[in-house]
């Protein structure tokens, strides 16, 4: 058992996989000499050399396209988008090619790549360094999209992602990189891509979240506990596949559900969770399924006060939880 931050977990897991399997390579902007803008590949080029740790030009479609080709040719590439925001130019490669090659070739070809993307707001990154893009990719059959946010989950799920035979979008919330620390079991364990995880057991209301919002919900749940409201917190750490079994079980347990996400509320990934609960757990519901999410704004503002107002925080999450508990 070792205590790590989220970024350390990313770094150490990739390093271990590099040592375990020499087919693993990484491609991205500044991943080599610079060691990654978040230091995720610190020391990699020294240990594994420039053939496996490849600095790429500022052309994301190229990074993903080359990774797809290398994967089909037998390597196990990790493509790093320096920020999730920059993945838009690679969208066509990810969605039209990587996600569909298995289908298009009738199962003869598969694309074992991991596309890592630091995402999310809360670091004063404004328009180009704050976006939530999980929804765009979670909409596409053929991709797996995961959003772990603790060092243990990141370690176990990144291992699973690298060993997965198909493309995985691996989203790392950048505001948790150094802020979130936790114990990671030693040894070569994996956590499957799919199952949600109940991070806090409760009996009065159930709250679903992932990424930075998970940690803010846990904080708010603690506040509510002091008031006598027992909050169940589900970490939806995988969006595709989405763990219907756990989500519905926890919904039926309390009959009162709240989904929190930082992406724009309308058409966000949380909306899918709400719909699933409303369709499948209808006769267990004791309140309307509620949502708390980002406002209708074209982008995350730069100004700190506005960014704080933009993101759900422990206070307004707690207020929403009280509203639901009182219903």
């Amino acid at each position: 058992m070792t205590e790590k931050s989220n970024i350390q977990a990313v770094h150490d897991t990739m390093r271990d996989e590099f040592r375990r399997d020499e087919r693993v390579i990484i491609l991205g902007e500044d991943v080599g000499v610079r060691g990654g803008v978040f230091r995720a590949t610190d020391g990699f080029i020294e240990e594994f050399g420039p053939d496996r740790v490849i600095d790429m030009p500022l052309a994301e479609s190229n990074i993903v396209g080359v990774a797809i080709g290398a994967a089909i040719a037998g390597l196990v590439p990790i493509a790093e988008m320096q920020f999730a925001d920059f993945s838009a130019p690679a969208f066509e490669q990810i969605v039209d090619e990587a996600a569909r090659i298995r289908y298009r070739s009738n199962g003869q070809w598969n694309v074992p790549i991991v596309i890592r993307m630091p995402w999310g707001a809360g670091v004063h990154g404004a328009l180009y360094h704050s976006q939530s893009l999980e929804l765009f990719y979670a909409h596409v059959p053929g991709l797996k999209v995961v959003v772990p946010s603790t060092p243990k989950d990141i370690t176990g799920m990144l291992r699973s992602a690298i060993r997965d035979p198909d493309p995985v979008i691996f989203l790392e919330h950048k505001a948790t990189y150094r802020a979130v620390k936790g114990d990671v079991p030693d040894g070569d364990f994996t956590i499957p891509l799919g199952p949600a995880d109940v991070k806090r057991e409760g009996t009065d209301i159930t709250v679903y979240a992932y990424g930075l919002m998970l940690h803010r919900c846990l904080e708010a749940a603690e506040e509510l506990a002091a008031e006598g409201v027992s909050v169940d917190v589900v970490d939806v750490r995988s969006l595709r596949p989405l763990d219907a079994e756990t989500i519905l079980r926890e919904a039926r347990k309390t009959g009162k559900c709240l989904v929190v996400y930082e992406d724009n509320r309308m058409f966000g990934a949380g909306a899918e969770i709400c719909a699933m609960i409303a369709e499948e757990a209808f006769d267990s519901l004791d309140a309307p399924v509620m949502r708390l999410a980002g406002p209708e704004s074209p982008a995350t503002p730069f100004n700190k006060i506005q960014e704080d107002a933009f993101l759900p925080n422990a206070d307004n999450i707690a207020t929403k939880m009280r509203e639901l508990a009182a219903y």
Partner: protein, 471 residues
Amino acid sequence: MSVFELKMPKLGESVTEGTIGKWLKQPGERVEKYDLLVEVQTDKVNTEIPSPVAGTLKAVNVKEGDTVPIGALLATFDTAESETAAPASPRPDNSPSPSASQPAPAVPAVQRPAAATPAPPPQPAAATPVPPPQPAASAPAPSRVASAPAPGSSSSSVAEPAAPSNGDIRATPVVRRLAAEHGVDLDRVQGTGLNGRVTRQDVEQYVAQLQAQPQQRQAPRAATAQTAQPEMPQPMAGDETIALSQMRRAIASAMVTSKTTIPHAAAMMEIDWTNVAKFRDSVRDLFKAREGFELTYLPFAIKAVTIALRRHPMVNAKWTDQGILKVKAINLGIAISLGDEGLVVPVIKNADDLSITGIARAVRDLATRARNKKLTLPDFDGGTFTVNNGGTLGTYLSYPIVNPGQAAIMTTEAIGKRVVALDDDTIGIRTMGNVVMSFDHRVMDGATAAAFLRDVKAWIQGVDPANVALS
């Protein structure tokens, strides 16, 4: 001005009643929100209840030392602000959903003199705990603060219809389903939700009361037949009666439940602990210096159990009439003796995540807090299997009782040197000890229990004495 009724909150999983300790505020005293009001002892922990509202404590309804069920009326308050906003009957002109968390500053300044004077004589009307219905106008029917967990007390939740019309009642899907299943007329259930809405808890409690009532009427026969409590014999000179503590009662109730509902069977296995003993010797000083306490055999037994439970999920399970619930989490209850006072079984959550050292620290933490009475209710929740360590007391064979809600309990017996015949037909001195497992024979059979114990044994015997990294 309104009246707030404080009810006994539900203090944890499987807690049904509590004993009032000391009242920290007296009638007439001004109380701020979150001020500690009263000490409550349950069968698991002692705790202090904070005030959910600000106001004046008007009357205390339960004496110190009395035991009352969850939901019982504990005290009433005069609250200056209308924190307890929701009126019992829906008013059309009401704005739809006042955010429950923010107290509406309804009548801030003007306080009626009665509440301002800290006069001891409680006002009889609202202080009376039971039935007499209050004149309609005097106060809004007891409503609760959004954050108060307790549902309506038994006396208040079965009431005359609060809503005027029968028939067209709006209710959530789960309330409709429960009402249909139990044939409940929702008109008769007093709602405690937003704007007097009937919540799931309200229906569940109403049903529980309906079920309880007929039993009470048939009480005389049923009681004698079922419980058959032995009478207290006439004490002889020098005999002494010990009053039953909450803990004693809880232990008694759990043990009777277990022994009368779970068909117990047991299996014992002898384990060679020599490797573990050697390992302990080799890291003894290092461990002591690093952790500040001795490494015992127990963490090894616990580690072995977590590994064996993963391989034998039927041992980490729970009997229900709908089916056997295989539990994913491995949360180990650890029996900790408090001497004659009793014992507690706090839980190490996700014990399979921990190293030997991690387990040793967790056990020590629980034991220390148990002795200092610092365990909190979450420490007791969610156990899936129990480990008992009777061996430290010198027992060689004991027959533990399965914790209700689990499928098995394992106890480690005394470990000591014995002469044994070895595989190569020589005679040797080995460190031996037994483990005994009691199990719910509905959930598993002897073969499963034995296979589980074989894996426990194999892991313990397979400890590499040279592998210092293990600790």
